[in-house]
């Protein structure tokens, strides 16, 4: 049982990371409908940012983190400006920006690949390596830090969409771009902001998970797939969707390994099978959109 | 004349709201039946129930004596009931003539196997010729090879009609065909619908605009609040007090 609690904390931390990546998708899907598979590469960029600022130059953690996330906003904004805006304003079908961003995935990955050596680069834990015990629940500092940070981001995102005028503007754009434009909402600005915010959230996910998985040039695609899976399981209808989906996915992955009586090599296939079954039974995700 | 389409006790509830309540009417062979009513009278719901887009809560719809309620839309089309859409829904990636050929989908006899072996060319040519005739019939002859995205709204509506005709229907369902058309286009549309009836294809016309519908329809059914409030010849319906009430009431509300 102690194992279970310990595992639950670690899995929750992984799930929060998947959730953050899922949220990065969601922030962009909401106003634009664009599925951006390059979010995983954004997480990778931030992880490398963490390596440079925190490991190489040994800046204090909050400073390094703030600088990296600030840069991520610029990266997201620039991605929209250079790649997406032209296609959206040119009236290209929705698939065109999705695929252009898939191309950007290659560009981001290869930029890192030619800049840094191919080995994994260490990124430090926020509070060093250590364990925190809260009654029966025990886990690493980094796990708790990840969970708390991610929850903070999700609450912030929820408040933004539910409680602020700007959030309503995002929502309005999501429902109907033309009508939103008539209402005086600056579509271009909303789109650019959504990409900036998406990059920050994905980057945060990358920074939080990097102490475990290290920063390396092939880390992006698995995160992109895990985040997308979280999004699909949870549903795009609500802000909490990706978080719920991420937690479920991480629990499924890790509990399978720990408890399912399948040979080790096949354990990695179990979440895939679960995902397929889940999609076929409930293609709209767990949380339905509010009507 | 016998009834081609019989609607009996048709009811549809969305949650607590009854959109259509215990509706009865019939469409006879070769006639133009108009269904009118103010906004929110349940016209569109009725249409979608017959076309198979919505599942009914209760009732029965028979086409040529066979029950069709609850069948998937493509099965209803295969029986010979074709439809148009109020908001044009062309297949954007195809030229006009190919759009019309999609309408003939259920009339192709060639199997996939014979297509692969190249044995279906004669049928394809025959159907294409027939589709060209229909394009001509609705007046889009010169645009047969054009990209559908270049069509005007009115031309798009005509394409909807040609596409529905290509399915060799015995009944066509029109969903507010005059909506968004200019007066000249409406006149042309009325002419085409008469031409369709003249080919002994029955027409069920759901329409908001009385001025368009009444001169065209052979018989009229009037709906309000999901129920039938009147039916009969256009002349009778025009002066029916309940109808005037419903329409004036609805206009007053605007």
């Amino acid at each position: 049982m102690q194992d279970f609690f310990e595992l639950a904390v670690g899995a929750a931390a992984s799930g929060c990371v998947y959730g953050l990546i899922g949220l990065a998708y969601l922030l962009i899907i909401r106003p634009t409908g664009i599925i951006n598979f390059a979010v995983g590469e954004w997480a990778m960029l931030a992880a490398f940012g963490g390596y440079v600022t925190l490991t190489k130059y040994e800046w204090p953690y909050p400073v390094g983190m703030a600088v990296v996330l600030g840069l991520m906003f610029v990266v997201g904004w620039a991605t929209e400006r250079v790649v997406v805006r032209r296609l959206v304003e040119g009236g290209a079908p929705l698939l065109a920006p999705i695929l252009a961003l898939l191309g950007m995935l290659v560009v981001f990955r290869e930029s890192i690949s030619v800049t840094f050596p191919p080995d994994p680069h260490p990124v430090p834990d926020a509070f060093g390596i250590g364990r925190l015990e809260l009654g029966p629940i025990g886990g690493t500092y980094q796990s708790f830090f990840t969970i708390v940070t991610a929850l903070g981001v999700f609450i912030g995102a929820w408040l933004f969409f539910e409680r602020t005028v700007a959030g309503k503007a995002f929502e309005a754009v999501a429902l109907n771009r033309r009508a939103a434009a008539l209402m005086g909402i600056d579509l271009t600005r909303v789109t650019a902001l959504s990409f900036g915010a998406g990059a920050v959230v994905a980057g945060l996910g990358g920074l939080l998970v990097a102490p475990n998985i290290s920063a390396h040039y092939l880390m992006g695609v698995p995160l992109a797939i895990q985040g997308f899976t979280a999004l699909v399981i949870g549903g795009v209808g609500r802000v909490a969707g990706p978080l719920l989906g991420g937690l479920l996915l991480a629990l499924a992955e890790q509990l399978t390994v720990r408890y399912a009586p399948v040979p080790a090599g096949y354990a990695q296939g179990v979440p895939l099978v679960l995902l397929m079954v889940f999609l076929l039974l409930r293609p709209t995700g767990l949380l339905k959109a509010k009507v | 004349m016998s009834a081609l389409l019989e609607v009996r006790g048709l009811t549809k509830r969305f949650g607590g709201l009854t959109a259509v309540h215990d509706l009865d009417f019939e469409v006879r062979e070769g006639e133009i039946l108009g269904v009118i009513g103010p906004n929110g009278a349940g016209k569109s719901t009725t249409f979608n129930l017959i076309a198979g887009t919505y599942a009914a809560t209760a009732g029965d719809v028979r086409f040529a004596g066979e029950p069709i309620l609850g069948l998937a839309p493509h099965r209803i089309a295969a029986r010979g009931v074709m439809r148009t859409f109020q908001h044009n829904r062309p297949f954007a990636g195809m030229p006009v003539i190919d759009n019309v050929l999609v309408g003939a989908h259920t009339r192709f006899g060639a199997t996939l196997w014979s297509v692969v072996l190249g044995r279906s060319r004669a049928e394809e040519a025959r159907r294409r010729e027939r589709a060209a005739e229909l394009v001509q019939f609705v007046g889009l002859g010169e645009l047969a090879r054009a990209d559908v995205t270049t069509l005007s709204f009115g031309q798009g509506r005509l394409l909807e009609i040609a596409r529905a005709l290509a399915g060799e229907p015995r009944l066509i369902l029109f969903d507010e065909p005059a909506a968004g058309l200019t007066a000249a286009e409406c006149a042309r549309l009325a002419e085409i619908i008469r031409g369709i009836a003249a080919r002994s294809i029955a027409v069920l016309l759901i329409e908001h605009d009385m001025h368009f519908l009444l001169p065209l329809a052979h018989r009229v059914v009037v709906l309000n609040f999901g129920a039938k409030i009147a039916d009969g010849l256009p002349a009778e319906v025009r002066t029916h007090p309940a109808v005037m009430d419903a329409y004036l009431g609805s206009h007053a509300a605007h």
């Binding site: 790649v83 895939l272 | 493509h74 999609v102």
Partner: protein, 323 residues
Amino acid sequence: MKSENPLALRATPLIRGAGAFIVLAGAAFFMGDYHNDVYRKLLLWVTLALGYNFLFGVCGQVAFSHFAFYGIGAYSIVIFLFQLHLPFPLAAICGIALCIAFALAVAIPSTRLEGFYLALVTLALGQLFIVVLNEGGTVTGGTGGIANYRLPEIYGLRLRGPWYTAVIALLVVATYAVLVRLDRSWFGRACRAVRDNPEAAAAMGVDVARTKVIAFTLTSVLAGIGGMVYAFVDNTVNPPIFGIENAFLLLFMVIVGGAGRHAGAVIGAVLLFLLPFWLSPLVGHHHALVFGVLVVAAILLEPRGLIGIYDRVADRYKGSPSR
């Protein structure tokens, strides 16, 4: 029309196909070993791109299982021939049957899903396939795959070198012919209708689910047949070939060339397959970066694919109004 010789009419596409085959296959006999090898693999990519274009470009289904089916075809023919020792035709039929069974098993439930949900299911399937290959023990040879076999003799002939290239050329031409015929039939139009507007397609009598299932199964089987041919290109099969990376590359090929257009798929496959071969000597290990930039640029400048350039040029010469 009727006065013409009906035989001549019927022979035209056959002659065109035969001509294309002779050119494609004949070219192999003027190439060295290296170019022949690249050419063989290129032709296989073209086959895959043509099939994937039908699924994605014509029928609008985003799936990432194409390489899994390529792998099912490749592995099944090898396993049936050299482990179960079936005769060649029977092994081929069993391989195709296996592809059909898997495709139906995926497609029938998946038609309930729209757009990217199908993508996710097939993405999971693609990853699962690799897991199974790696864990398959002696049946799949694990990570090392299967090697040490040769194309069996058929009527005392063993096709090698450019002669085997000719087999692949035949595959390309046949795939192209089948797909073009389907595309120009009621089935192709139904697929495009389903892609453009499923609700309107249903109203026109198109069984949307059935159309999707058939398109998915058909293109998956074509991929499987391609895989069977691939198995004898290098006489070895191993898991990395059938991974997700290649599925994404296939998607890029169809997009860059022009989704929904057979010629576009061919252009995309040729360009993107050969690009690393050209770029690598020029820019060294930056070639993958340049590849990415070129793909993005192509989509930005020609969202409808490179075939769009051809269309514009053709329009200008014909003098017909531009789109």
